[in-house]
Symmetry: C2
Subunit: 340 residues, 2 copies
């Protein structure tokens, strides 16, 4: 049985919702848990929940990294922080993957420093299943790499394609390069340099895609630098909430309360929920030598359940070897070598 290390102290609702979600996730997905955090706090949460049928151990860590801390100094001065200890458990072979709802930057730094990168991979990227507006659209990088080189974007395309195919179950996923127009000559400097690399990569590259293609789900993997990716993900999160608010206010003026309460509110709340981070659980960190799924800081138990499922799939299909092999195959292509 796979064993998932849970950062019990990660996120705004830790440790309560994290422990609750971890237990439910273990039951749902048939995995064992290692709950990482201050022993007495984790035990207090366990006492509030039923642990029947769940195989778990605890790993004491007295420290944790708060949302407002700067990731590099925080990981440096806190070797006993829960996210760092969780990554160490994977390195030591005690656990197979890490799930955290904590500080994204700290999880990236802890994973990178503890595990290193997959051979040949230049940068680790955060992948973002693009909400259930389009359940088969996956964006990366969602924020780990702000200034990118063309080769990083090529590697994001490869890693995204493998994740979409093997974890999300999309056969032969299409890969698009996010740009300011569909034509080959559109893009900023880095995008224009990345285009011929992706074109000669052997991936199912469909060329440049625009912002609207994300909304319409016309492409499976959307490649962008982490600056643009982060702005997009946060804009979408904001628009979903704003849309539900405005439409509710307008319908309220014409529809009787009973219809609002019984029909309209559930649909709009469901819409906001479906398009919410909790549905997808988390963002995989791709390119590091270990599996780490990072959820939103505001996550509740249901998001932890989903994230455990994602982590389990990534371990089962051996995503890390797939990325290492995939990169070797890509760079063996003569056409790509000429373009690089």
């Amino acid at each position: 049985m796979l064993r998932i290390a849970i950062d019990a102290m990660g996120g705004d609702n830790a440790p309560h919702e994290i422990v609750k979600g971890a237990l439910a996730g273990a039951r749902r997905h048939g995995v064992q848990l290692v709950l990482v955090g201050p022993l007495e706090r984790v035990e207090a949460e366990l006492a509030k929940n039923s642990t029947d049928g769940v195989e778990f151990t605890m790993m004491h860590s007295e420290d944790y990294i708060a949302m407002r801390e700067r990731p590099i100094p925080a990981v440096k001065v806190k070797p006993r922080a829960s996210i760092v200890v969780a990554c160490q458990l994977v390195k030591d072979g005690v656990a197979d993957a890490v799930v955290t709802m904590g500080h994204t930057g700290a999880a990236v730094v802890a994973s990178l420093w503890t595990w290193g990168r997959i051979e040949g991979i230049k940068r680790a990227a955060v992948g973002m299943p693009f909400f259930t507006i389009q359940p088969e659209t996956f964006l990366l990088d969602a924020g780990a790499n702000i200034d990118c080189k063309a080769e990083y974007l090529l590697q994001f395309g490869l890693m995204g394609s493998l994740y979409a195919e093997k974890v999300m179950g999309i056969p032969n996923p299409t890969v698009g390069l996010l740009s300011n127009g569909e034509e080959e000559n559109k893009g900023n400097r880095t995008v224009m340099e990345a285009f011929p690399l992706l074109k000669n990569s052997g991936l199912n590259f469909v060329g440049n895609v625009e912002g609207r293609h994300i909304a319409y789900g016309t492409v499976n993997v959307v490649v962008s630098d982490g600056f643009v990716g982060n702005v997009l993900v946060k804009l979408t999160e904001g628009l979903v909430r704003q849309f539900a608010t405005v439409v509710t206010e307008q319908l309220e003026t014409s529809l009787p309360p009973e219809i609002m309460n019984s029909v309209v509110q559930p649909v709009l709340r469901g819409f906001a929920h479906d398009n919410h981070y909790s549905r997808w659980g988390g963002m995989p960190l791709l390119g590091v030598n270990g599996i780490c799924v990072i959820g939103h800081g505001r996550s509740r138990a249901d998001a932890v359940v989903s994230a455990i499922g994602q982590a389990k799939s990534a371990v089962e299909i051996d995503l890390i070897s797939a990325i290492a092999e995939g990169w070797k195959e890509l760079t063996a292509r003569k056409s790509l070598l000429n373009a690089l």
Copy 2:
């Protein structure tokens, strides 16, 4: 009475919707028109509409630039294209502003080449009133400048602030720099360089803003390079349509057709419409030595009416002098000079 040069051949629905909208706009806003296009085609459209109470002249131009053409070569080889002739009319003092629903890139190139830039301004930017999701949020650059320097972003902040205040009527508009986090140390290289410039500019600068702040309307002027701006505008356009489609489908399964038709559809269609280019008419081109408002290629008559109103306001408040003066004032600030 102000006189607006109308590119009668610009856009997917030209000349029919353009001429119809121009006549309505002239009546609504009390302006004269110069209709620029092939004489016989413009006359044929005029014959289909009432011209009562509208003062107009026609300016023959036998050529026009199609949406698929590349802007620089197109403007170069077509000096008699309607958009080029319209810009020339403003240069010659025959008209006060240009309104076009045609090729954005061609309008930018024709304006720049015919009018030049305002003294001191390094790049012209396309401004985008951010739909009526947030009627007091204005983004620039929406796509004219793909790779930007920090100083361009500073100038976008100034021009956006003046447009928001003087044309949109927002007193002391707040200016935010779009980034991947609110902290001062977040951003790509250009954004981090632009931060101290905006901070020392004397503008009402509120610091870095994230994608969600656009949706929540927490800032009036959002400064970004044209690559990010273009991706965002197209994502928003796509998401608004996608939201309306998904929510309609879900409500249809529970609500009777008469409620759908009489209440829900109008709200959702209205939402898509309110957040639609037609409501705002067009995007002002800021930084050139003339007023040009560029509408969406799919615009219909109502968008032309709105664009004429925007162009009229910009002329009346003498936006060009305001930008020239504003830049002089900004660069007289010692703190900014030290940061530049």
